[in-house]
């Protein structure tokens, strides 16, 4: 037990946790923004894949790292726009369209990657973001190295939590997003353009998800692999429910989940071959299902989630 206590107090463990949490934070925030406006975005897995590929490809072709992040965000925004156009003005099934967007995002990423680099056997690499030690703060024992010696995208993810919370709860735009997700008819009566707000929210949310994908290729690793997102997008959808659609709780959920992930990696080394490694790999998914079951009783879904809205039509 002493081992485990040491582990939970070590800076490297928490530094790893925050690193693992970053794509979950960005993906969950992105999905949360979409759902708050009433649109379920099952395209997340494909949008993250496209973000990971496009951001990496831009840097590999000579762009700067931040330009790569911007390219990823733009690619994600475009794919989000597609999802939004199909589901908001046309009112098509959000489930099925989302699956279609995921298939398109992943297959297009793989196709473009193969086209641009037809004859590579081992994935080429780029120089990724380096950790940046915040002066003074990073000298604080334990907390300093864990929290203030990360790569810039992790700081950006943490800042995004505050930004999304501020926009949602403190600005007219955020109020409009929450209204179209709760009661679009009332929003319309207030002169809010429901269609425009929903499209805007899905586009912005998708851009965030794509940056989450780009974190993997430009910060955590330095190359693009097929199957790289590996279900992270779906976990984000579960985390949104766990977070009850609140940005602060989304951060908490993502960090807890990542801590568990970092913990199982280390536990695996301690326990060794006594248990098959697949058991540990299953745990995050089972934990997500468990979280859904526990939270479902108290889930405060945005009331218009998945319900299409057409001007002047009653529901």
């Amino acid at each position: 037990m002493g081992d485990i206590a040491d582990l939970l107090l070590s800076a490297t463990f928490w530094a790893a946790t925050l690193r693992i949490a970053t794509p979950y934070i960005l993906g969950t925030l992105g999905e949360l923004v979409c759902e708050r406006a009433g649109v379920l975005n099952l395209g997340i897995e494909g949008i993250m894949t496209l973000g990971a590929m496009a951001g990496w490809m831009a840097v590999y072709q000579g762009a700067g790292l931040w330009t790569g992040v911007l390219v990823a965000a733009l690619a994600g925004a475009l794919l989000g726009l597609l999802h939004a156009l199909l589901t908001v003005p046309l009112g098509l099934s959000q489930h099925v369209t989302g699956i279609g967007v995921t298939l398109l995002g992943t297959s297009l990423s793989y196709y473009v990657y193969r086209m641009a680099l037809p004859q590579v056997s081992s994935p080429p690499t780029v120089e990724p973001f380096q950790p940046f030690a915040v002066p003074v703060l990073s000298d604080i024992p334990v907390i300093g190295p864990a929290l203030f010696n990360q790569t810039p995208l992790t700081y950006a993810a943490l800042a995004a939590v505050g930004l999304v919370a501020w926009v949602l709860y403190r600005t007219p735009a955020g109020l409009a997003v929450r209204m179209v997700g709760e009661n679009p008819a009332a929003a319309e009566a207030q002169g809010i353009d429901v269609t425009a707000v929903r499209i805007g929210a899905v586009v912005c949310g998708s851009a965030l998800m794509a940056v989450g994908g780009a974190f993997l290729t430009l910060s955590a690793f330095n190359a693009f692999f097929f199957n790289m997102i590996n279900g992270r997008g779906w976990i984000c959808i579960a985390l949104v429910v766990f977070a009850s659609w609140r940005p602060g709780k989304a951060l908490l959920g993502a960090v807890l989940f990542a801590a568990f992930d970092a913990f199982q990696l280390r536990l695996q080394q301690i326990v060794g071959p006594a248990l098959p490694y697949q058991v540990f790999l299953m745990l995050p998914y089972l934990l997500s299902i468990l979280a859904l079951v526990v939270m479902s009783r108290r889930a405060a879904y945005p009331r218009a989630l998945m319900i299409p809205f057409r001007k002047g039509e009653r529901h």
């Binding site: 046309l90 196709y111 193969r114 058991v279 057409r310």
Partner: protein, 350 residues
């Protein structure tokens, strides 16, 4: 722009719309092919030839279509009741796992019983895997999309654990694969010198049976009513939750059968690359078919032809075979739009 509902879309429109959508998808993907420097006409001709141009190609396409038909039916039957089963991939592997265990003779059954046991056991495993999330949905309101999706990963890891552990073939040269099923547990071949097997017959029978169920039985009517409006269905005295569970047993069973039939008809043993995403492609197949069981037959042959044809094409010209997945994804999105245009007409002003 203004969308006006059509009161009665004509039958011709409903049949032509998916076909038009597929043509639109082919046109959209032409840009990606042109990027490679290959002539678009040449590439599509090679794809068509590779999919349907010879006896061998046709047999390969139908072999590939068999699991897609079953997973497509699994999605179609569930989506009709608005039970969003995204877990056909996991259900397929669960079915394959049970089929390989039973087909390997673990129960000491008489020879004639091995094949039925393997197929039925596989179907039941798929059913069981969907009943859980469905109960969570009806009892606790847990969204089934996420639970069925997450279970796909769990099942795959479980299969991997079994293949590296108790089910590992001692003759497998160290590869994570199971021992083959006994010859009595194999489905017969349909065509000599091809891989086409009787799983296709099973899938076709399932499609016709579901079509009859949808159009001629109370069950079919109840499922449709629950899908259209659960509150109204409950008001009309339909036991909504029980109908959902029946649908789950049926849908999961079909996906499980897809896995069992791949084992009994094609592979003989289980590996982790049994399915290149048949569960997910089944969703596309079901949507292309507008959830119609007989449409699923046509749509699964189309999707299988795209994959088999793209593989053949990429061997001749420098178009990556990922074009197949792009084509299928674009087709799905185009069909969704076309289904909208069947229901609504576009007007300049109200």
């Amino acid at each position: 722009m203004w969308f006006e509902p059509r009161a009665h879309p004509s039958a011709a429109l409903r049949v032509l719309a998916p076909a038009g959508a597929v043509v639109a998808a082919l046109a959209l993907c032409a840009a990606l092919i042109a990027w490679t420097g290959t002539g678009v006409g040449e590439a599509y001709a090679l794809l068509f030839q590779g999919a349907l141009g010879s006896r061998f190609a046709l047999a390969e396409t139908l072999t590939r279509a068999t699991p897609l038909m079953l997973t497509g039916l699994a999605a179609a039957v569930a989506f009709r009741a608005k039970l969003w089963n995204i877990g056909a991939e996991g259900q397929l592997y669960a079915g394959a796992l049970v089929a390989v265990v039973l087909g390997g003779g673990i129960l000491d059954l008489p020879g004639w019983a091995l094949l039925p046991a393997a197929l039925l056991g596989g179907a039941l495993a798929g059913s069981a895997l969907l009943v859980g999330p469905t109960l969570l949905k009806t009892r606790l309101g847990v969204d089934e999309v996420v639970t069925t999706l997450l279970l796909n990963f769990v099942v795959l890891l479980f299969v991997s654990m079994m293949l590296e552990g108790p089910l590992k073939d001692p003759m497998g040269m160290g590869w994570p694969q199971s021992a083959p099923v006994l010859p009595e547990a194999e489905l017969p071949r349909l065509l000599e010198r091809s891989r086409l097997h009787a799983g296709l017959v099973l899938a076709l029978v399932a499609a016709v049976a579901l079509w009859i169920m949808n159009t001629r039985t109370t069950w079919g009517y109840e499922i449709k009513a629950v899908g259209a409006n659960p509150a109204a269905a409950a008001f009309a005295g339909i036991p909504v939750n029980r109908v959902m569970l029946k649908v789950a047993v049926l849908s999961g069973g079909l996906a499980g059968l897809a896995g069992a039939a791949e084992i009994a008809g094609l592979r003989g043993y289980l590996t982790l690359d049994l399915s290149p995403g048949f569960g997910y492609s089944g969703i596309v197949v079901a949507m292309l078919a507008q959830l119609h069981p007989l449409g699923v037959v046509a749509a699964s042959v189309f999707v299988a032809a795209v994959f088999v044809g793209a593989d053949a094409m990429s061997r001749t010209v420098p178009v990556p075979n990922y074009i197949a997945e792009v084509l299928v994804a674009v087709s799905l999105l185009c069909v969704l739009v076309s289904s909208f245009l069947v229901r609504y007409r576009i007007r300049r002003s109200p």
